[in-house]
C-alpha cells in the first residue's frame, strides 16, 4: 500500500512535467511570437521592445521553457504578460482559497443531495417517486448551469428585489455574509453534479440489488434496512466514488462559469480573464495548478477505494 502511494506520488510530478512541456509547446509554437507581441502591444506600444526582452520572448522556446521551469522550483510562477505585470503567484495565493471554498461546498452539497436521491430512486424503482427524482436528475444534466445562474440572478431581483452578486467577504471576517455569497455558485454547480452522480448511484444500486449476496442476505432474514445499507449501499459506492473523483475536473471547469456569473474573484474568473487577455504565463500556471489538484484527488480516491472495497489491494 505505502509502496503504491509512493510510486504514485513520484509519478505525479513527472506527469506534470510532461504536461507543462506539451502546454508550453502548444501555446508557444502555435500562436508564434506574433500573438505574444500582440498581447504585449495592446498593453504598451512604447515599451514593446523592452517588454519583449523582459519576458525573454526574443529567445528560443527551449530557453524560455528552462527559465520557466527553473522559476517553478524557487516558487516563482512568472509575471503576467499583461499590465500591471504583477506576479502570477500573488494572484494565485489570493484567489485559490475562494475557489477551493466554492469547490468544497459544491462537493458537500452534491454528495448530500445525490446519495439519498440515488438510493431512493433505486429502492423505489418505477414508483412515482422514482419517476419524479429521475425527471429531476435528467433536468439537472440538461439545463446549462450558466442559464440556471442567470435566472437565479434575474428572479432574485424581480421577485425579492435582492441582488445575489455581492462584493467578496472573507469567511474569517463575516462567515454568514461569506456563505450567502458562496452558496449560489456552489448550488448551481452542485445541482448538475448531483444529478449526474445520482444517476450513476441509481444504476449501481440496481445492479447490486439483484445480485446473489443480496438475495442471501434477505434469505437469512436480515431486515430490509440492513440489507440496503450494509450490503447494497457499500458495493454501490465504488462506481460512485470514481465518478465523484472525476467530477472535480468538471467542478473546476464549472467554477469558471459560476465565478463569472456571480462575480467571485477566484481562480475560475482569473482563468477566464487571463485566457481572454492571452496572458499565457498566467494561463499556463492556472492549468498546471488545476491539473495538480486533479491528480492528487485521483490518488486520494484510489486510496479511498481500499476502505470501501476491501477486495481492492495495491
Amino acid at each position: 500500500m505505502w509502496n503504491y502511494i509512493i510510486r504514485r506520488l513520484i509519478a505525479i510530478p513527472l506527469m506534470l512535467l510532461v504536461l507543462s512541456l506539451v502546454l508550453f509547446l502548444l501555446i508557444w509554437t502555435l500562436p508564434g511570437d506574433a500573438a505574444f507581441t500582440a498581447a504585449l502591444s495592446i498593453a504598451d506600444t512604447v515599451n514593446l521592445e523592452k517588454l519583449q526582452e523582459r519576458f525573454g520572448l526574443d529567445r528560443p522556446w527551449y530557453v524560455q521553457y528552462g527559465d520557466w521551469l527553473g522559476g517553478i522550483f524557487v516558487g516563482d510562477f512568472g509575471d503576467s504578460l499583461t499590465p500591471p505585470h504583477d506576479s502570477v503567484m500573488g494572484s494565485v495565493k489570493e484567489r485559490l482559497p475562494k475557489t477551493l471554498e466554492v469547490g468544497l461546498l459544491t462537493i458537500i452539497l452534491s454528495a448530500v443531495i445525490s446519495v439519498p436521491v440515488g438510493v431512493i430512486s433505486a429502492v423505489r424503482r418505477n414508483k412515482p417517486e422514482d419517476y419524479l427524482l429521475r425527471a429531476g436528475t435528467i433536468l439537472g444534466i440538461s439545463v446549462p448551469n450558466f442559464w440556471t445562474g442567470t435566472l437565479i440572478i434575474i428572479y432574485a431581483f424581480v421577485w425579492f428585489n435582492w441582488n445575489p452578486i455581492q462584493d467578496w467577504v472573507e469567511f474569517t471576517e463575516d462567515p454568514l455574509k461569506n456563505l450567502a455569497i458562496v452558496i449560489f455558485p456552489a448550488a448551481i454547480l452542485a445541482y448538475s453534479g448531483a444529478a449526474y452522480t445520482a444517476r450513476i448511484m441509481r444504476s449501481a444500486m440496481l445492479e447490486v440489488l439483484y445480485s446473489d449476496h443480496v438475495r442471501t442476505a434477505r434469505a437469512k432474514g436480515l431486515r430490509e434496512r440492513v440489507v440496503i445499507f450494509r450490503h447494497v449501499f457499500r458495493s454501490a459506492l465504488i462506481p460512485v466514488l470514481t465518478v465523484v473523483g472525476l467530477q472535480l475536473g468538471t467542478i473546476l471547469g464549472g467554477a469558471i462559469v459560476a465565478e463569472q456569473i456571480f462575480a467571485i474573484p477566484g481562480m475560475g474568473l482569473f482563468a477566464l480573464e487571463r485566457i481572454v487577455a492571452r496572458d499565457y504565463t498566467a494561463v499556463l500556471m492556472i492549468t498546471m495548478i488545476f491539473a495538480a489538484m486533479f491528480m492528487f484527488v485521483t490518488l486520494l480516491v484510489d486510496i479511498l477505494y481500499t476502505y470501501v472495497d476491501p477486495r481492492i489491494r495495491y
Binding site: 442567470t150 435566472l151 471547469g253 491539473a291 485521483t298
Partner: protein, 315 residues
Amino acid sequence: MSDASEAVQRPASETLLEQEYALPPEQRFNPLRWARREPAGALGVVLILIIGIMSGAAPLLNTTDPKSLESFTSDNLVGPSSDYYFGTDRQGRDVWSSVLYGGRISLKIGVVTVLVGTVGGTLLALIAGFVGGPVDFGLSRVADMLFAVPSLLLAMILDVVLVDKLPDLPALPAEELARVLAIAFFFMPGAFRIMRGSVLEQRSGQYVEAATLIGAGQFRIMLRHILPNITGLVIVLTTISLPAAILTEATLSFLLGSDAPSWGAELSGDSRQFFKNAPWLAIFPGAALAITVFGFNMFGDSIRDTLDPRLRGRI
C-alpha cells in the same frame, strides 16, 4: 471446409449466407415498436425533430435573419407579443429569430464536433490497440494527462490559441472552426479510452484469431473485422456525447462570446445588464438550449439501452 473456402472466394455465396441469416420481418427494427418500448427516447426524438425542423425552416417562420441589417428595428426591449413572439433585444432585434437561427449554429457545431471527436478518438484507439507497444503507451499516457486538465479550461485555451491561426472555411468561419476543434479535443481523451478498451477486447476474440489463421493482414483485420464490431459502441458514444457537445459549445460561446447568434452567446456580454428588465432575453435562448440538450439526453440513453444495455453506467 470446402464451403468455407468457397465463401471466401465467391462473394455470391456471401449474399446467400446473408439471406439465410437475415432477420424475419417481425424482428427487424421497427421505429413504432421502439417508440412504444422506449417512450422517453421517442420523446427525445420528437423534441430533436421539432427543434431541428424549426431551425432548418427558420426563414419560413416569420423571422428576419439576425445577421441582416433589417433585423435592427426601433422597437427595442419590447416584451413577447404577437409581433415579436419572444420579445426584442436592446437593438430591436427579434429574439424569436435569433433563437431559431441560433439553433442552426448550435446544432451544426454540436454535430460536427462530436463526429470529429469520436471518429478521431476511435482512429487513435485502433492505432493504439494494433500497433501496441510504445505507441499505445504514449497515447494512453497523453490521454491520462489530458484527463487531469479540466476539459472546459483546455477547450477555452485551444479556442483562443487556434482562432488566431485558422483560415475561414466555406461553411465554417475560423471562429466556428476553432470552436469545433477545441470541443472535439474535449471529447477525444474520453472517446479514446473507451474505444481502446473495446478494441483490445475485440482483438483477443476468436474471430480475429481465425482471420489471422487464414492469412488476413493486420490492416484488413483492423478495418474489416474489428471496426464493424465496434461500430455499435461508436454510435452509442456519438449520441451520448452530442448533448454534452451542444452544452459545451454554448458554454464556450457564453464565456468567450461569439460573432454568430448562438444560444450561449445570447446569454453573455453586454445584453446581461438588460436581463432584469427584459427577462425574455435570457429565458428563451436558454430554454431552447435546455430542451435540445434534454431531447438528446433522452434519445442517447434509449439508443444505448437498445443497442447495448451492458454499457449502462459505463458511458
